[in-house]
C-alpha cells in the first residue's frame, strides 16, 4: 500500500531534500549514551507473526563466574546458544529450538513457524556433553495471529454462511478486495515470508543460522499423539566477495562468506540450484541440490 509513503508525510515536511541539505551543514547526533548497563540480561520482543527480536548483555562478572564454575575454557569448548522455548496456553513448554549464535552479536532475529505462539528464550552455553549452562532467561511474549480465527463463538454457530459474506464485505468489495480476500492476502504474505529464502539478518549473521535439532517435548494431553515435521537447512560457504543465488534468488552472505537458509519442506521434491559467481565475475561454480520428502502416516 502507498500508506507508509503517505504516512511519512507529516513527519517529513519540508521534503527529503531539506534533510540532505541539513546533513551537509551540521550533524548533531545527540549526547553520548552507554553501550552497556552492567547487568546480565536478555529481552525478547515480537515483530510480527513469525519473527521476534532478542537483545542481551552479559557482564564480565557473569563470564568470570561461569568460568569459575565450569572451567576456564568453557567459552571455547561450548557453543553459545539461544534456546527458544515455546509454551502452551497453560504455560507448559511445548518445544525448544536451539539457535547457535555469537555471544558478541548482542542481538538476533528469531523465526517462529507458528503464528500466535508464545515464547521465551534462554541464553546459554551448550557444552560438548550436551549440558545447557543458563546465562539469562528472557520475558515471555506471544506472537500476533496472521489469519482469521477458527474459533466461532457458540452463540454464533448458525451463521457461518453469513459470516463468510460479512468477512467478504469487511474491506472493499467495490475496489475488488473483500476482507476475506484481504485476510487471505495478509495470511499469504506471512506464509510466503515464512517459506521464502530468508534474507533477514541479525546485526552479525543470519538469524536462522545454525538452527539446531528440533526437540519435541512430550505433550501431555489425553490420548497418545505423535507429531513430527521437518525443515530443510541449506548452508554453504564461498568467498565473501562472491554473489550467490539459490533457486535464482540472491542470498546475502555473512562477512566470512558463509550462508545459511531455512526452508519449510512439504512432501514432494524441492530443487535448489546453488550458484556462486566470483567477485570479479570471471569464475562460476554451481551445485544442484535436490531433496525429496515422503511422509507416510500409519495409524
Amino acid at each position: 500500500m502507498s500508506e507508509q509513503t503517505l504516512k511519512s508525510g507529516p513527519t517529513s515536511m519540508g521534503g527529503a531534500k531539506s534533510a540532505q541539505d541539513l546533513s551537509s551543514v551540521f550533524v548533531d547526533k545527540g549526547a553520548p549514551i552507554p553501550e552497556t548497563y552492567g547487568e546480565t540480561k536478555i529481552a525478547l520482543l515480537p515483530r510480527d507473526p513469525h519473527w521476534m527480536y532478542t537483545y542481551w548483555e552479559v557482564t564480565d562478572q557473569t563470564i568470570q563466574e561461569i568460568k569459575r564454575l565450569y572451567g576456564e575454557d568453557i567459552f571455547y569448548s561450548s557453543q553459545s546458544t539461544l534456546r527458544m522455548v515455546q509454551i502452551s496456553d497453560d504455560l507448559k513448554p511445548v518445544k525448544t529450538i536451539d539457535v547457535t549464535i555469537a555471544l558478541d552479536a548482542k542481538n538476533w532475529y528469531l523465526n517462529a513457524e507458528e503464528e500466535g505462539s508464545s515464547w521465551y528464550v534462554e541464553l546459554g552455553l551448550k557444552a560438548a556433553d550436551g549440558r545447557f549452562i543458563l546465562i539469562a532467561k528472557s520475558n515471555l511474549i506471544t506472537l500476533p495471529m496472521a489469519r482469521v480465527s477458527n474459533s466461532i463463538d457458540e452463540k454464533w454457530v448458525s451463521i457461518k454462511d453469513e459470516l463468510e459474506r460479512v468477512l467478504e464485505a469487511s474491506g472493499g468489495g467495490k475496489v475488488g478486495m473483500g476482507s476475506l480476500e484481504l485476510a487471505r492476502i495478509l495470511t499469504q504474505r506471512w506464509l510466503t515470508l515464512n517459506q521464502q529464502i530468508s534474507s533477514w539478518k541479525g546485526s552479525s549473521g543470519m538469524s536462522s543460522f545454525g538452527v539446531g535439532a528440533l526437540e519435541l517435548l512430550g505433550i501431555k494431553e489425553r490420548g497418545f499423539r505423535l507429531v513430527a515435521d521437518c525443515d530443510l537447512i541449506l548452508y554453504g560457504a564461498t568467498e565473501s566477495t562472491a554473489t550467490v543465488t539459490v533457486a535464482g534468488r540472491p542470498v546475502e552472505l555473512s562477512p566470512d562468506g558463509t550462508f545459511s537458509l531455512q526452508f519449510s519442506l512439504p512432501d514432494g521434491t524441492l530443487d535448489l540450484p546453488v550458484k556462486a559467481i566470483s567477485g570479479d565475475r570471471v569464475e562460476e561454480r554451481s551445485i544442484h541440490i535436490s531433496v525429496e520428502r515422503k511422509s507416510q502416516y500409519q495409524p
Partner: protein, 532 residues
Amino acid sequence: MNPKGYWCLVLHAHLPYIRHPEHEHFLEEDWFFEALTECYLPILDFSERLLHEKIHFRFTIDLSPTLTSMMCDPLLQSRYLRHLNKLIELTEKEVWRTQNSPQFHTVAKMYENRLKRCRELFEKYQNNVAMGFKYLQDAGVIEITTCCATHGFLPLMLDKKAQAAQVRVGVSHYKEVFGRKPEGIWLAECAYTKGVDEILKDEGIRYFFLDSHGILFGNPRPKYGVFAPVITPSGVAAFARDMESAQQVWSAEKGYPGDYSYREFYRDIGYDLEYNYVKPYLHPDGIRRNLGLKYHRITGKVPLENKEPYNPDLAREAAAEHAGNFVFNRVHQIEHLHSMLGKEPIVVSMYDAELFGHWWYEGPQFLDYIFRKIAYDQNVFQAITPSEYLKKHTHHQVTQPCNSSWGDKGYYEVWLNGTNDWIYRHIHKITEKMIILSEMNSNGSLSHLEYRALNQMAREVLLAQASDWAFLMTAGTAPHYSEKRTRDHIHRFLTLEGEFLGHSLNEEFVKECEHRDNIFPNIDYKVFSNKG
C-alpha cells in the same frame, strides 16, 4: 426515518514534541507550523462554518498529547505567528509580482486570503488552536480522543507499568486541556497487544481503534466483521478500520489525491524563484526549501517543469466531485451491509489528519463537501462519533482482538528492524529505572529539587519512548534528528538519575532540562508505579 447505518470519520492528528528554545530558528519546528497552516486550521475553519450553518456533521479527532502540548506552548505560539506573518508578507509581494499573469495572480490572492484567515482564527483562540477544537467538542459536533502520552509504541514495552504510564499521562493531560475526561483513545499507530485494554479499562476509557485485521483476526471470529465494534474481555470497545473507504483516499494509483487538477506538492517557489527574492523567507542557513506557496497542478505524469498552472476553481470542483463519489460509495456500501447484517453497520474511516491539507491540499475542502452532501444529498446513513454509537447500541460481541498495528505489513516491523532495533535496550533500561525510582520514592520525603528531578526524569523517559523516532529511522527522512532525540533524552535521564542517586543534583542542570523538555508541566513521576 432511521438511518440504515453510520459513518465514523476518525482523524489522527499527531506530531512529535519538537521545541528547541536553545535555537532561535529550528528547522524541524516547521513541521508543526506547516501542519497548522495547511491542516489543523483549515479543518477547524470548515468545521466552524458547518456548525454556524447548522449542518449536521460529526467527526472524531485524536489530538495527541504532544501535539496538544505544542498548541498550548507560548514559545511555539509566538514562533508560529512570526512564521505566519513572514509568509503573509511574502504572499503580499507575490500578489504584486504576479499582477500581469492572471493565472498565477489568482493563486497568489488565494494564498493571501487563506493565510490571513489562518491568522484570524489563530488569534481568535488566543493563539491556542486546541481551544478551537475544544469549542467544537463542547458544541457537541466533534469528539476529541486522547492518545498515548508521547505516542509511545505500547507492544514494544516490556513492562505493563510503562504502558500504563503512557495511557495515564495521556488521560490526565487531556483533562487539563479539555476540561473533561476522554471517552476514547487512539493507541499510537493503533498498536495493540493483549492486556492494553485492561489498562484502558482502569483509566475509564470506553473505546479505542484498531486496524481491520485487529478485529478480523480476533478470537472468536467477529460476527459482523469490522462493521460493529467488539468488546474486549476487559470490557472496552474496539472499532476497526474499514478498508474500502481507506483505499479510496490512500491508494497512490486510484486514490483521490492524485487527481490531475489538484495542487502539485513538489513545485514550490522556495525552489522556483530567484534566490535573493526568497532568501529572507528561508531559514538563516539560506538553503532553498519548500515555502508552501505552490502555483502548479499535478497535470499528469509529466516532469516538474511541464506542470500546468494551478486553478483553484477546477481543484474545488474536483474535490466536490470526489466527495460526491465518496458519499455515493458509502450509500451503496451501507445499504448492502444493512441488508446483509440485518442491523445498522458502522463504517469507520481512519486517516492521518496531516494527509488533509499538507499532502492533499484540497483535503479539507473534500471533507467539507462530504459533510454537506451527507446532510443534503442522501438519507441512508449519518455521520456519528463512537460515543454516540455506543449509546445507541449496547449489545456487542466479546472478542479478543489480534495483536496488530496499522503500520506497513500490519504488525510491529516498522518500529523494530535493523535501522532502529538498537534503541530498545536503552529505552527499556531507562524505563525500568524510572519504574524502580517511582516505586522507591512513593512516600514523599523528598526535597523540592529531588521531586523536580524525578518529574523531569519521567518526562525524559516518555519523550525517549515516542514511536516517531523509530519511525523516522525506518523512513530515513530525518535519521540524524531522530537519533539525536533518542540519545539526548536517554542521556538526560541517566545524568539526572546518577545525580539523584548520588545525592549530587545540580539545580542548573535540572532547570536546563525542564526548560528544554517542558512537556507535561504537571506530571507526577508516580504514574510509573501502581501507586501513581
